[in-house]
Symmetry: C2
Subunit: 419 residues, 2 copies
């Protein structure tokens, strides 16, 4: 059984590697056509997708409401997935980019040009829409992909995958450009993390912390991901009160389960009463639990006492840790000590302080006077994202089609030899 699984997975890797070459050599028109046909096929196949999804939901009857919510599809969400594919098809060709071009004194003409990464392994939880989104972003950027979704969504993903195959076939691209791991055996993930004999260039995990942590710990190939988003909003003493209230409330409460949701609020001591009280009142009446240090509890006695652990916690829930700080340098020190290098925002009318905050922090995204919930490829104008990266290498922040490319150097000479 295990030997069969290993052999099957290696065969998938080999097929992906071969189809990656076809994708790399295909035109943007071909790749976009595959996505447009897949969108039509999704609409045409909506009844079978919804019926597969109903079976998945039935089998997951005992799962949590949140899990069932992630799993559930309806006509509207299938249409949204189809529109997402069309939007990705309409993006400019990410491979038609010369990233740099210069001439050397000896006449060598050097271009740094975009190329696909190759084969991407996508490991995700039971969100059927990721099957379409990830496949589309990989196709558009010229990468073959091996998808391994959560077993609870297996039937839904299988039905969506059939629509992606319709698109590939219509465009004359090999089926193996988008492969879906059919077995629910978790050993398949282990094989992918080993790289399928050199066939996998990059693993992208998308899901909860335990999934990402497992992938980061076990992968023998590069991983693009974020483990957690302990995002901060810092309300500086020169913040406009109305703006600070709107930004903090949006950053925390718009959606509490997304990685760009604020988890810690830092407020300058100088405005703890004037700004802190109305901001915390807003949060409390929106249903948010406040956990505060001593200074915060002095002005907001309803706050639960915060422990050291709170500064390191990604709640992904209607809970916020609040700390009074003494100026921008203290805020920077706190974020550097406790943050996860994801997304941080400062609210202030003081430009010099804002620029200091933007420059000093080593996070993927730093914002001035805007909500941390803008940490999203769509909101950045990338069309869509396959995830967000907080590592230091390759790409940080939202990962869209351009971030799914790498580059090579094309050098044109006239017979130059090296002295």
């Amino acid at each position: 059984m295990s030997a069969d699984l290993k052999r099957d997975m290696l065969a998938m890797g080999q097929a992906a590697r071969e189809s990656a070459r076809a994708l790399r050599e295909s035109s943007n028109d071909t790749r976009s056509e595959a996505l447009r046909v897949a969108a039509s096929a999704l609409r045409a196949r909506a009844p079978e997708i919804l019926s597969a999804n109903a079976e998945d939901l039935k089998a997951a009857a005992d799962s949590s409401a949140a899990m069932r919510d992630r799993l559930a599809l309806n006509e509207k969400s299938v249409e949204a997935i189809a529109q997402g594919l069309e939007a990705i098809a309409a993006l400019p060709d990410p491979l038609a980019r010369t990233l740099a071009h210069w001439k050397q004194p000896n006449g060598l003409d050097i271009s740094r040009v975009a190329t696909p990464i190759g084969v991407i392994g996508m490991i995700y939880e039971s969100r059927p829409n990721v099957t379409a989104d990830a496949a589309a972003l990989c196709i558009k950027s010229g990468n073959a992909v091996i998808l391994r979704g959560g077993s609870d969504s297996a039937r839904s993903s299988h039905a969506i995958h059939a629509a992606m195959l319709d698109g590939l076939r219509a465009a004359g691209l090999p089926d193996a450009c988008v492969q879906l791991v059919q077995t629910t055996d978790r050993a398949a993930v282990g094989e992918m993390l080993k790289g399928l004999n050199g066939a996998v260039d990059l693993i992208i995990p998308r899901g909860g912390k335990s999934l990402v942590a497992r992938v980061q710990a076990e992968a023998r190939v590069p991983v693009l991901a974020h483990l957690e988003g302990i995002c901060h909003v810092y309300v500086h003493q020169a913040a406009k009160l109305d703006m600070a209230r709107a930004i903090v409330r949006n950053a925390k409460m718009r959606r509490t389960g997304v990685c760009g949701a604020a988890e810690t609020l830092l407020i300058d001591k100088a405005v703890l009463s004037s700004h802190g009280v109305p901001i915390l009142n807003d949060l409390e009446s929106a249903g948010c639990e406040i956990r505060g240090g001593e200074a915060v509890r002095a002005i907001f006695p309803a706050a639960v006492p915060a422990t050291e652990e709170d500064w390191r916690t990604e709640y992904l829930d209607a809970i916020i840790a609040v700390k009074a700080v003494d100026g921008v340098e203290a805020a920077i020190r706190h974020i550097e000590a406790y943050g996860s290098h994801h997304t941080e925002s400062i609210v202030t009318e003081d430009a010099a302080t804002a620029e200091r905050f933007l420059a000093a922090l080593d996070s993927a995204i730093v914002l001035w006077n805007a909500s941390t919930q803008f940490a999203d490829g769509g909101e950045f104008g990338m069309g869509a994202e396959i995830g967000i990266g907080t590592g230091k290498l390759h790409a940080r922040g939202p990962v869209g089609v351009e971030q799914l490319t790498t580059f090579k150097y094309a050098v044109r000479g006239s017979g130059q030899t090296r002295p």
Copy 2:
């Protein structure tokens, strides 16, 4: 002993992490000043560096001539190292780059700006000059570095490191920006590969295949490197004979031990006699062993029969494998099947064939009518390189100061919240 080593290495990681923050916040003037003072210090300390080197050479009396050659310094090479530091100091600031900038319809102003990677672990063999070069490239790009050189060069590296410290101190930067692992215990490398408790962002190995292979197999943090350079020259039927002779001879014989040296020559069957014979005669009279397939031995009987293994071998020596191919598609297929994605060159006067070769190959560097030995950061105009990457992620080809940076997004708003 092992517990002590681990504790010492973790302390180095912690110190590197702290000094990385100082470097990240330092100006280009400060970083460049450190390099200029280090260059002067190298010249002033030349007698002690050469005396340390003499001791290293004495201890390595039983080593190979090639190894002793790599290890040996003289007044001229110390001066060359000092000039290298000054050249790196004079490069433009790699951190003063806005890589992209756009505005969203909601008014958000988004910049992708260059930032240092953080802490780099450099693992290299007994080339004392790498101690200075790698330190300089890291300082210039705002990265702290932990250097672990070969134990045979320990005394030389220690003396060069002292000059780097002179530079850091004169510029007011912490000593821990450039740390040299003093122990020759190989377990120190193992600790670095584990990442020193999250302190190391990137490992760069530089040396022979066994060193790089060990690092790639064991590292738990990203690695930027090339394992081998099986570089190809393809002489197309429309190649000018004189140009083909000059390029092949240079690509193979200029220096045979560098990663950009050609290891396999592909020649179109149509010009096997007209071009192949003079090219192989050139190589033979330059002292190169020719290994050929059947067609090659038919026109050049002195050739040794080539085996399947020859197409996969990086000789790093005066040996070349030669194969007759039937056109550019066959050449591409051979290179994709046997190459190492490092550097390949086509010699032809036919522009369409050249562009096909440049587009189709998935190698870090593809050249048209130029020697593969241009695979070098200096030759690319990057000032210097810390190595060459053949992985797919982050950077491919020569790794100079710009490739030692990553980026973050700075987003400037006016109170935007996400709907």
